[in-house]
Symmetry: C2
Subunit: 119 residues, 2 copies
DNA sequence: CGTCTAGTTTGACAACTGTCTAAACAGAGT
DNA sequence: ACTCTGTTTAGACAGTTGTCAAACTAGACG
């Protein structure tokens, strides 16, 4: 499956405007990648480095899963455009792609909504 | 599967703090529910009503899928705590649960992060 | 070159998911 | 009570997913 390109959609919040078919498909891939506890924890481990990178070996150590499984999950996150990586020497380093996380965050943002509370 | 209770976790953004195992599991259920194009469009159709409710019949009309399939997706969204519903007479009305959407949105929020841009 | 370590890819398999048809359920109105 | 409409549930089936073990690739270092 091809990775999501840099031209991924940046949408107004859900509460403001209904999604088109195509846009929904792209965004859903992002959320789908987040829809696994292991991947969510991986992303949080990477993201909480605040701009720095994390070596795969550190990530693997944080789980009781095998190396290949971690590698698989990292690939899913990468193909969803949420993280990126680079090999330097023996080790591979991962970091988050803030713009993509922001796009998904904004979509779910209801803070500016005119929605009225329900009893 | 039991629906996610009202005491669902409300977390600081990913960039600030790594997730615990248990919290990740609950949050992942929310994202998993969003990880399907049909469900994302359903949610957007409901949410863009801005506090009002939507009848299932309207939702069904917006897709080429069968009624049972739409009903299934609505159930997934409901069990993830993202929407709620009520039957009034013949029709069933759905609305979003803003607090739950906000929690997921905040988790992905990187706007206040101290992350440095990468070259 | 040979080998060691870090990571990824491949292949297999059980479990889960999205979709459908058929059946069941809930009210409204005869 | 019967029926008609709107919605959900049950069951079935193809396709997808998460996991592991085994094989492979990339670079470092003798």
């Amino acid at each position: 499956m091809p990775a999501i390109p840099d031209t991924s959609p940046c949408c107004p919040p859900l509460v403001d405007e209904a999604l088109t078919d195509e846009t929904a498909a792209t965004l859903a891939r992002g959320f789908k990648a987040l829809g696994d506890p292991v991947r969510l924890r991986l992303l949080s481990l990477i993201a909480s480095r605040a701009g720095d990178e994390v070596c795969v070996c550190e990530l693997t150590d944080a789980f009781t899963l095998t190396g290949p499984t971690i590698s698989h999950h990292l690939k899913v996150l990468r193909e969803a455009g949420l993280i990126d990586c680079q090999r330097r020497g023996t080790w591979v380093y991962y970091w988050i792609v803030p713009a993509r996380l922001a796009a998904l965050s904004q979509l779910l943002d209801v803070s500016g909504a005119t929605a009225t509370a329900r009893p």
